[in-house]
């Protein structure tokens, strides 16, 4: 099972505990992790299911290549991190 972790910053807005998922792509992993959690989903994706512009996703320490179709592949033990890009002051 892969594990999806969300940035700790999200926890102050909405429950975002890590989730174990069975998935072979990062898109499937996110969909599974966000299934039934529409409020959490709205913080990560817009209303059309697109990753928000300043959200960054890592698989096993490497940033994903395909932000549009989220096709990057996972292994059984992948650690997926949903993080925020830093900006502003």
């Amino acid at each position: 099972m892969a594990t999806v972790h969300f940035t700790s910053h999200l926890q102050s807005f909405v429950n975002s505990a890590p989730v174990e998922v069975a998935a072979t792509t990062v898109g499937a992993a996110l969909n599974s992790a966000l299934d039934g959690k529409e409020q959490l989903r709205s913080y990560v994706m817009d209303e059309h299911g697109r990753l928000r512009r300043h959200i960054m996703v890592f698989i096993d320490g490497k940033i994903i290549d395909d932000r549009v179709n989220l096709s990057d592949s996972l292994t059984d033990t992948s650690e997926v991190y949903v993080m925020q890009a830093l900006s502003g002051g």
Binding site: H9, L10, F13, V14, Q39, S42, Y43, V44, D46, E47, H48, R50, R52, H54, I55, Q84, A85, S87, G88
Partner: protein, 374 residues
């Protein structure tokens, strides 16, 4: 007079209250650290709304039913599948390249006055939305969204066009006007099914000469209508000050205003339609007070003359700008409040004739609204 003010800032929602000795002070801070784009204290049922623009995590809306003691996240307006908008302003010769429309920011929130919990919401990009259940669900007002002219709207200071002013006729809630940066003024008489552009007389000096009066390309920074005389309206436009006395059919440009006609905000007296307040700045590349002296301009004769008011305001080294939603007047017309981009906040209790600084250390202020009970 009102005794509570909501101040939406870059770092949270501040609630200011007037103590028994008539001193205004910060009573509460909610959502500390988060940017707030708008608030609304609904006088009909006492609900408070706070619109957050979290940047990384999108726009979100919270409602409080206990005057800020606790907040619950409710729905935000979202654009339906297939809703698209031009990537850039369309020209006549080409079909614009389209992109999906997705909520960027809640920029206007007003009671719709057709029953408790009915709300209008204006957004960036330029969508108008309607809720009939206190923000639990929203629907896009397609009568406006589907207007062909929308293809020519464009962003003014923001990447995309936005609806920032929604004025509801107190005597006829089906009669609603919205103002768009940049897309002019639009009016419905039937609650949102049909819309007409009402920008006649607005002038955009920033456009090529043959487009200066194009009603669909105007940049009204803020539009307000007098609640007691709804046909009397004011606009602080990118290009100057405009006044309508016929319900937005025609707008008259007012040019005899010192020290400047440029600004972002305007407030109108709730019972005296000829009285309005503005906060001028040097246009257009500068956007600071003229000679670094921060003042308010006030007319009491429908724009024939303006007075410059400086009592209680910084007279030198001031670089404050008051953004479009950051000036408000209460229902008596005597109490005004404003906050600036540099975190100064002032209150006037004599109809804007003199001001007192309440704080000089707030985060940048985006919106100021009085909290009033019905």
């Amino acid at each position: 007079m009102a005794d509570t003010i909501h101040v939406s800032t870059r770092k949270g929602l501040f609630t200011l209250k007037r103590s028994p000795v008539r001193r205004w002070e910060i009573a509460d801070v909610a959502f500390l650290g988060s940017p707030l784009s708008m608030s609304l204290a609904d006088p009909r049922d006492g609900s408070w709304y706070a619109a957050l623009n979290l940047g990384h995590f999108g726009a979100h809306l919270h409602r409080s039913c206990d005057r800020g003691a606790s907040w619950t996240e409710v729905a935000v307006p979202t654009f339906p599948d297939g809703a698209t908008m031009p990537e850039r302003m369309a020209s006549e010769a080409e079909t614009p390249k389209m992109k999906p429309a997705a909520l960027s920011e809640i920029w206007a929130l007003e009671p719709a006055n057709t029953g408790d919990g009915t709300l209008w919401c204006g957004t960036i990009p330029g969508g108008l939305f309607r809720s009939d259940d206190a923000g639990e669900s929203w629907r896009l007002v397609e009568g406006l969204w589907n207007r062909e002219e929308r293809m020519s709207w464009f962003g003014g200071g923001k990447d995309d066009p936005g609806i920032h002013s929604v004025e509801v006729d107190p005597n006829d809630p089906q009669h609603v006007l919205v103002a768009i940066s940049c897309g002019g003024v639009w009016r419905t008489r039937d609650g949102g099914a049909k819309w007409e552009c009402c920008s006649n007389g607005l002038r955009a000096e920033y456009m090529p000469p043959d487009q200066a009066y194009n009603p669909n390309m105007q940049d009204p920074h803020r539009m307000v209508a007098c609640p007691s005389y709804f046909n009397f309206m004011w606009i602080q436009h990118h290009n100057g000050i405009f006044h309508s006395t016929d319900g937005s059919r025609n707008w008259e440009e007012i040019t005899n205003v010192e020290p400047a006609v440029f600004g972002f905000t305007v407030a109108v007296h709730p019972h005296d339609p000829g009285t309005a307040w503005f906060v001028p700045g040097v246009k257009d590349e500068m956007r600071v007070p003229k000679d670094a002296k921060f003042i308010v301009t006030k007319t009491t004769d429908g724009g024939k003359t303006f007075r410059q008011i400086s009592a209680g305001l910084p007279s030198e080294d001031a670089y404050d700008i008051v953004l479009r939603h950051a000036l408000d007047v209460d229902s008596t017309g005597n109490l005004l409040a404003m906050g600036s981009t540099t975190g100064n906040f002032w209150v006037s209790e004599d109809s804007g004739e003199s001001w007192q600084a309440v704080s000089t250390h707030l985060p940048p202020v985006y919106a100021v609204r009085f909290v009033e009970e019905r």
